[in-house]
């Protein structure tokens, strides 16, 4: 039994992070037995809501009925037989839902986002849309690594077609008060700066463009404001691309 297979319970309980959700949803398209199990476990988890049913305040009904009167419905997904396989369609649909969740997370949480000013909101929304597009890409590949000293996790979702990756960093060891985690792409010993987390920050979601011809994605600890070249070589975290 593969490791990812054992995630079916956590997945049915929504106890996975967004990246794992994407990875597992993809796994389901390739494993009919798992899809069957997950359908059953999800239905089982939904039964747990039976124990919590409470009649909501009457105003909720009025609000919801009012809002649906102003809300356009999305149409059914039309199969596009010339390109997409059923699995790919399902994958895309799941991907979009997940990406929406990631965008919510990106918009709602994280020291990185918190520090940004209102005038950055537009740029941020554009980046969120990019992140969404990478996660929903049909060729998206998910790779994970532990953070420096085995603390926290680094997840890289790469779409070769889009020439972009999304890096999700969480629970890393503190880089120090006046230090930061900086992201790099490496090729033949050359490092390209790909931005950094907020000073002292231990996690965040970053869009990394221009991955197609690169060999490695890497993270190093640098002084606040970042460095022109990595100070730590070999880097404490690296993920092989392609």
């Amino acid at each position: 039994m593969s490791d990812i297979h054992t995630l079916s319970g956590a997945y049915a309980l929504d106890a996975v992070d967004d990246i794992e959700r994407v990875a597992f949803a993809r796994h389901l398209t390739e494993c009919p037995a798992c899809a069957q199990e997950v359908a059953e476990l999800t239905a089982t988890a939904a039964r747990l809501a039976d124990a919590t049913a409470i009649v909501p305040p009457a105003r909720l009904r009025a609000r919801v009925l009012d809002e649906i009167g102003r809300t356009r419905q999305v149409g059914p997904l039309i199969p596009r037989p010339e390109r997409a396989t059923p699995a790919a369609r399902r994958w895309r649909r799941i991907g979009v839902a997940v990406a929406a969740a990631v965008v919510l997370l990106a918009a709602g949480g994280g020291a990185l986002v918190q520090e940004q000013r209102v005038r950055d909101a537009q740029r941020q929304a554009a980046q969120a849309a990019e992140i969404e597009a990478v996660l929903a890409a049909p060729d998206a590949v998910v790779q994970t690594a532990a953070g420096p000293d085995g603390k926290g996790h680094v997840t890289l979702v790469t779409s070769q077609q889009r020439d972009e990756s999304v890096a999700v960093l969480g629970g890393l060891e503190s880089p120090g008060v006046d230090r930061t985690y900086q992201l790099w792409l490496l090729r033949d010993g050359q490092a390209t700066d790909k931005g950094m987390l907020g000073t002292g920050s231990t996690g965040g979601t970053m869009l990394v463009a221009g991955v197609r011809d690169e060999q490695q994605f890497a993270i190093t600890r640098e002084p606040a404001g970042g460095s022109p070249t990595p100070s730590e070589m070999p880097p404490p975290v690296h993920i092989q691309l392609t």
Binding site: A10, D14, A39, L41, T42, R47, A53, L60, E67, L105
Partner: protein, 194 residues
């Protein structure tokens, strides 16, 4: 005292007609949506309240989830689950997203408090209805550790990593525990699909 109860399958839990209503909703039928609302809103709101705890926020999230049901009704795929299961999946995910985004900004002090939350809370709230009793009985059939894992994940919105930390257990153990717990619940509740 518990008296023997008739064994009831999932079809008795989900009243007939939800599927029909949702099909009509997908075609833009607002009356059908109002009827669907009356059937699903208590479970959607109750679940949001259970996970989020703050009534004002739970109302907001319930509203978002219910409007989502309207908006995406055309994309419901019966091959992947029943109507009620689809609705509650939307609601649960919305609720979990809300608490996680709160958690991401707030200090994690809530973690410390949560390990003291007794599972009894959940059980106590399960009162009259048969479905509730059935769920309660089946939750009671889990081992203590399985029950804790399900409780922290489903009713508190914690990820399995957080559950592992709270319980001081290894990640693979927690994953396995969650899966075993749901399999046992599935068999106890007689949930079948496909």
């Amino acid at each position: 005292m518990t008296s023997p109860r008739p064994r009831v399958g999932p079809e008795a839990v989900e009243p007939p007609g939800l599927d029909d209503l949702l099909r009509r909703v997908a075609r833009g039928d607002e009356d059908a949506f109002a009827a669907l609302y009356d059937r699903i809103a208590p479970r959607v709101y109750g679940l949001a309240l259970r996970v989020i705890r703050d009534p004002a926020q739970a109302e907001e999230v319930a509203q978002e989830a219910l409007v989502d049901v309207w908006r995406t009704a055309g994309r419901y795929d019966p091959a992947r689950g029943s109507t009620i299961s689809w609705v509650l999946t939307i609601a649960h995910r919305r609720a979990v997203d809300r608490v996680r985004s709160e958690q991401a900004t707030a200090d994690r002090t809530r973690r410390a408090a949560v390990s003291d939350v007794a599972f009894d809370e959940v059980v106590e709230e399960a009162t009259a209805r048969f479905e509730q009793q059935q769920v309660r009985r089946c939750l009671g059939s889990l081992t203590e550790l399985q029950r804790e894992a399900v409780d922290l994940a489903y009713y508190h919105g914690y990820s399995y990593r957080e559950v592992a930390e709270l319980l001081g257990a290894a990640l693979p153990t927690v994953k396995t525990r969650m899966r075993d717990a749901l399999i046992r619940l599935r068999d106890c509740l007689g949930v079948s699909f496909g």
